[in-house]
Symmetry: C3
Subunit: 152 residues, 3 copies
């Protein structure tokens, strides 16, 4: 057994929806990033890469590379999953915590779990998606952005 | 084996003690929350729920539900523990990091470990309680609140 | 199997290099701390101690103790490793995420992995070192300091 952790942050900007854990969620703002800025999938990707000791998402998918401009982050997570499979690994479970005041994650939780499970070809019961606020404190509390932390 | 992570934040407010990991700790402020605002037990509860892929503390104990007003968070952790037991699971170990400048956690560490172990019916040596400051930086550094992160 | 998590923060101050994961990295500032302020090794040390339920780095190496003034944090990590070995434990893998805008971690990743592996006497492929920014948000975004989170 091996474990890894991932952490990511993206900043709110203009827009009317955010991509979170592979699911578009209506919101008063969008998230800014080179790719689709999906903090949840980025943290999960890093957790898998970390468990493998295989670098990080920035090494595999440099934000300076025009290929990943506007990219669907599902491709990043799928890549980490295939690296793991290539080494004979198997995912026991994944868990991610989204840290933001808004949007509300609860109504989208099951869609997010199903999407993550689908990308990686694992059972949905092996995927945890949680959310918490920071009670108005810090940059997530000021609604400047969303943070995510993940374990694999 | 499965792992989960939890993160929680509560804000300081009026009061002369905080509940941390199930132990009342004298402090110049209290913590604000719908329940007893025990960030440590909330993060641990989420870590257990995350390992199970069983939602999060906000889903099981909505802060909008008057039943949990002023609630003892030990009940939340016990609930996560019983969900885990009902699925035939067993806790290998838990670990929580409390992030704040004050109060000092060290003098209460053993009481906290014993309390967590007691709530879940596990050996105290399976429970880790740690603390760190953020060296004056960020909202924890400004003493606006306490953050906690946990793994299970 | 047991897991632990660690989190640490140090603040930038005067200097021209920082010690990160046991490797000196040239930077426009140094990191302030009682020891060498190596946030990466501190988070990893806490993750190992947390997995053991053996307190935290502040308990083992109090910042008030003049013995640890300017200390090489490798000694802290080595101590956690020897506690684990003394209990018959074995490290399956370690993973750390460094959270800062600068310095860039990528060019030093392999040196950091090798250094951590060397301190603990484990294979380098059991060590993950990752980095992420907070996209200009929060204290790491304002370049006031560096945070690190680790799992073991
Ligand atoms: Mg990202
Ligand atoms: Mg809470
Ligand atoms: Mg430190």
């Amino acid at each position: 057994t091996r474990i890894g952790n991932g952490f990511d942050v993206h900043r709110f900007g203009p827009g009317d929806s955010v991509m979170l854990c592979g699911v578009p969620v209506a919101h008063s703002h969008g998230l800014v990033g080179h790719s689709d800025a999906d903090v949840g999938l980025h943290a999960l990707t890093d957790a898998l890469l970390g468990a493998l000791g295989a670098g990080d998402i920035g090494q595999h998918f440099p934000p300076t590379d025009p290929r990943w401009k506007g990219a669907d982050s599902a491709a990043f997570l799928a890549h980490a999953g295939s690296l793991l499979a290539a080494r004979g690994g198997r995912i026991l479970n994944l868990d991610v915590t989204l840290i933001c005041e808004r949007p509300k994650v609860g109504p989208h939780r099951e869609a997010m779990r199903a999407r993550i499970a689908g990308i990686l070809g694992i059972a949905v019961e092996r995927v945890g998606v949680k959310a918490t606020t920071t009670e108005g404190l810090g940059f997530t509390g000021r609604r400047e952005g969303i943070a995510a932390q993940a374990t694999a």
